[in-house]
Symmetry: C2
Subunit: 348 residues, 2 copies
Amino acid sequence: MEISTPYLLFLGDSDDPLSIKTSRGIADWRPEICVGQLSMPGCSVSLNLPEVSFEEAAKKGAKTFILGLANRGGVISPEWISYIKKALESGMDIASGLHKKVADIKEIQQLADRLGRKIFDVRHPTADPQIGNGKKRRGKRILAVGTDCSVGKMYTTLALEQEMQQQGLNVDFCATGQTGILIKGRGISVDAVISDFISGAVEALAPENTDDHWDIIEGQGSLFHPSYAGVSLGLLHGAQADILILCHEIGREHMRGLPHMKLPNMTSCIEANISAARLTNPDVVLGGISVNSSALTIREANEWCNSIGHKYGVPCVDPLRHGMKNIADYILAEEGCRHEGSATFRRA
Amino acid sequence: MEISTPYLLFLGDSDDPLSIKTSRGIADWRPEICVGQLSMPGCSVSLNLPEVSFEEAAKKGAKTFILGLANRGGVISPEWISYIKKALESGMDIASGLHKKVADIKEIQQLADRLGRKIFDVRHPTADPQIGNGKKRRGKRILAVGTDCSVGKMYTTLALEQEMQQQGLNVDFCATGQTGILIKGRGISVDAVISDFISGAVEALAPENTDDHWDIIEGQGSLFHPSYAGVSLGLLHGAQADILILCHEIGREHMRGLPHMKLPNMTSCIEANISAARLTNPDVVLGGISVNSSALTIREANEWCNSIGHKYGVPCVDPLRHGMKNIADYILAEEGCRHEGSATFRRA
């Protein structure tokens, strides 16, 4: 799977900013691959991209029409169908982050077949499932883990990719959820994989690579979320991470969607993740803590991060406020020490 | 899903005793629901059940024709199709533990539809998926966990159900794999569930019940198996077990299928399982250790079990050699103490 760029982002008839969260992720992280947005009458939200027609988008080279929107049940609204068909007729593939599959709508699939266009239902894995084997792969891997769901794992890993790229490193973001997949143009929705194949899917997502290559793997869920921890553990084992980054939202009062479940304390959460990750990479270490500190003032956030960073001996940052340079530098220094260490060891 | 009994067990043209493992499980654990076996010419294995024709089986009241066999790839051999159709025509439903779905063979599905018969592809969950919520449910639950896959979790839980039933307790075996499902007539193949729904599937499998009721939940995989640990963790959270039974095969040299992965030591395995299980049931305790000791003489096995039982402070048995009475008694005493404890607490 490789989704062609640039994109035309479809906003439908949305009137809720949250409903275009996926498209907003694309526009924020990859503005250079967005030729514009296209809205239906009645749409009251915007990504602040140029509003373009199908004709204009095609002229600007748009290759894929993106359904990065959400509605109740993740269904495809009947009003969208003529727009999707128009996109196909204008020369574009379709990529959707909705639960319901666009490819299941017969008239759309038939038209796509006739025109030779592709439909990417990115929540629905298409790769042949494979069983994980836990064998050590070459290359280096970083994985974001969390105290909960929706605590900024995608943001953290994308920001880290950007920082390490700017430092000239050989680095790739590996998407494990629908927004990340649309941003990167490829990836796998790990939570939609059959449970026997979770770790195998992640092994395939971040395969063996050169020694200087870093895969930065988007995390999902939390070992402490009773609905989704199985996904998180399979991801942890399949990732074979050298470095974990713990993500957390300051002030979150309970596990997402479950008012009766408290958040884990940070120490237990770090210990549980490191301990489980050791099964497939005994050398895994914590490389940083990345927080959403929007509940605090900047001064409070700085103090909080300094104190937590001191406590755990790793940089603690809010990527939005502080950037990811501290964490990237720490990881590279840590990696340098390892090499030094192993060289010394070899000489001894 | 509720598979009708009694069963007619189909052996096909098998020539490998391992290929009829699933049917053997049914014949061993529920001989009273098997009217007989039916083989094709060339079949060289047997379950030591009476060999019957479709007519005889129908006369004996057979309600379901069981494809409890395995072959390379779990496919349905073309030679079996006429037998499956004959079973439908003789008044039976079809239940299969194969990977490939019987219902996907058009001529069989059409015949079943016409005759009003059901097809149960038990490896393929049909229930609407639900997200787990981790809310405490009434009733008591026991779960088998393991140092590895295939270390006797199904055997252990079935033997414990039998023992507790004989003691007059209100108890149910909850199947999570295809053999268990065919033995019990219902259940869910947890490893075939979409990964987002693992714990939710187990919550539905062992739902709220009366205070005196015990669900004994068949375990799957191991938290220490890098291919399947996600399944095991989701199962652990969804089960909300009060009691864990650790299963182990003495002498197993590496994780099943992975010569490069050592088995976990028993202490880490117990600690990791108890610690993860506490997320949805803080009162969970270890209730016993159940081993496959076939690598040892009886005397050696007795010594091994005594020593390990002493070390961990719980009964350690080989269910085949020692039965499950010690573990059942320990669990009930433990449960009694809890009630006593809470009564005292309430009185205080």
